[in-house]
């Protein structure tokens, strides 16, 4: 049940190759966006990081569900690690998104940028997850509370999405969107996919490393209790 089994080096290598290749393609090969110009290139790192964060939150919720249905403590650390990684990538999403906002509309933050606002709400929620864990003593109670909270998080995502969407111009002056929709040239899409694959592979590597670290930590604590 090793976290860092044979897959991990392969993942890390794939991450390196895909990321370097993807970013090179994005910067040097993919065409420049007609409307936004060169600053659109942030999209190739910002969106994969955002998608990765959402993936981690989903993974955390899935592991949480497994914990609640099987009562196997193993899933607690897995769920926790997933949320942990999600928050880290979430912070990255907000920072890169903020840089993109600054270069696009001149402000570091805009409440009119729906995707980022939605993300902020979700990010706040999962940051509270840590507070929940830190202030509850270790044990089955904490495991179950964390799991239920992680599940609430994924319910919050679509609900908040809808909320921010209908709020639209009622609550915020203008709605900003980066128009990277269906009309994307295939070169852009390819570069994006490679970057996405790279970020996901990197994230998977980090996840395994972090999980291994947490497991070793827990085992060492147990050992110390037995020896001391």
């Amino acid at each position: 049940m090793s976290s860092l089994n044979k897959a991990a080096p392969a993942l890390a290598f794939a991450a390196a190759a895909l990321l370097v290749g993807g970013i090179a393609l994005a910067i040097f090969w993919a065409p420049e966006d007609v409307d936004q110009g060169f600053s659109q290139k942030i999209f190739y790192i910002h969106v994969p990081v955002a998608l990765t964060a959402y993936t981690f939150f989903g993974l955390g919720a899935w592991k949480a569900l497994r914990l609640l249905s099987t009562r196997d403590s193993r899933y607690d650390l897995e769920s926790y690690t997933a949320v942990h990684m999600g928050v880290i990538f979430g912070l990255l999403t907000l920072v890169t998104g903020s840089i993109w906002a600054k270069t696009s509309w001149g402000q570091w933050w805009s409440w009119g940028e729906r995707q980022l606002v939605l993300f902020l709400v979700v990010f706040l929620f999962y940051s509270a997850y840590f507070m929940l864990r830190y202030s509850t003593d270790p044990g089955p109670r904490r495991e179950r509370n964390s799991a239920v909270f992680a599940l609430f998080g994924v319910a919050l995502i679509p609900v908040s999405f809808l909320a921010v969407r209908i709020a639209g111009t009622i609550l915020h002056p203008t709605v900003f969107t980066h128009d990277d929709g269906v009309a994307m040239p295939w070169e852009m899409f390819l570069a994006f996919c490679i970057c996405l694959g790279g970020v996901l592979a990197l994230a998977a590597t980090f996840y395994r490393v972090e999980l291994a670290g947490k497991r070793i930590d827990a085992s060492l604590k147990e050992l110390r209790e037995q020896l001391a």
């Binding site: 509270a128 799991a147 909320a163 609550l171």
Partner: protein, 213 residues
């Protein structure tokens, strides 16, 4: 099924009566919400828009709800009643349902004072605000009852509950304020219904995992 309803009714009655007799939480909530409204008046510059005032009403509501929720499992905590309840031959989720009912009752009582006070201090309110408040109450109570039980297991309950609650309250605020100011409140009210349904079901289903030892 009927014993479930009876259990819920009994527990809810217990909560409401206990609270009304001790005169603890409810007066605090009433005073808090009126004080908050007064503070908000002074916090707003003279030419603030009507819409800003609506927003402040909802803030007052959220924080009054938090005040009430912090006490939601307080009595149980102090007397280890929750452990006793959990051991009782009662479906755990009935405890949650009863708590939701009692929280809604207290919120409604607080709002019976807050809404007229707001109308007096700021501006007249329409039916949309009242409807939105009623809908938001259900969602807030559903989520709050679950989170209060979660926070009761931690070391810093009073600090933790607001942190856990506020992100989840954001959609309710959006729905509520939207319904109060928009030309077409129906979509916001509909959204609040969705919010209530989604989180009530989730809270109802997961409550037993939160209170088992």
């Amino acid at each position: 099924m009927s014993t479930y309803a009876v259990d819920v009714a009994t527990l809810a009655r217990k909560d409401v009566l206990l609270e009304l007799r001790s005169r603890d939480t409810l007066p605090a909530m009433l005073l808090f919400v009126v004080s908050a409204l007064v503070v908000f008046h002074f916090a707003l510059p003279a030419d603030a828009s009507d819409r800003a005032e609506i927003g402040l009403f909802w803030i007052a509501l959220i924080f009054t709800a938090l005040l009430g929720l912090t006490r939601a499992f307080a009595a149980e905590r102090e007397q280890s009643l929750l452990d006793g309840l959990v051991l009782a031959p009662v479906d755990r989720s009935a405890i949650w349902a009863a708590k939701v009912i009692s929280v809604v009752v207290f919120l409604a009582l607080a709002e019976a004072v807050a809404v007229p006070a707001y109308a007096l201090f700021f501006q007249p309110v329409g039916w949309e605000l009242v409807a939105a408040v009623a809908l938001a109450d259900v969602g807030i109570a559903s989520i709050g009852a679950l989170l209060a039980a979660m926070a009761a297991a931690s070391r810093s309950r009073e600090l933790l509950l607001p942190l856990l609650f506020l992100p989840l309250a954001i959609p309710a605020v959006i729905g509520g304020v939207g319904a109060s100011v928009a030309e077409n409140p129906a979509s916001f009210l509909g959204f609040l219904v969705l919010y209530d349904v989604v989180f009530a079901i989730l809270a109802w289903a997961s409550f037993e995992y939160v209170v088992t030892e």
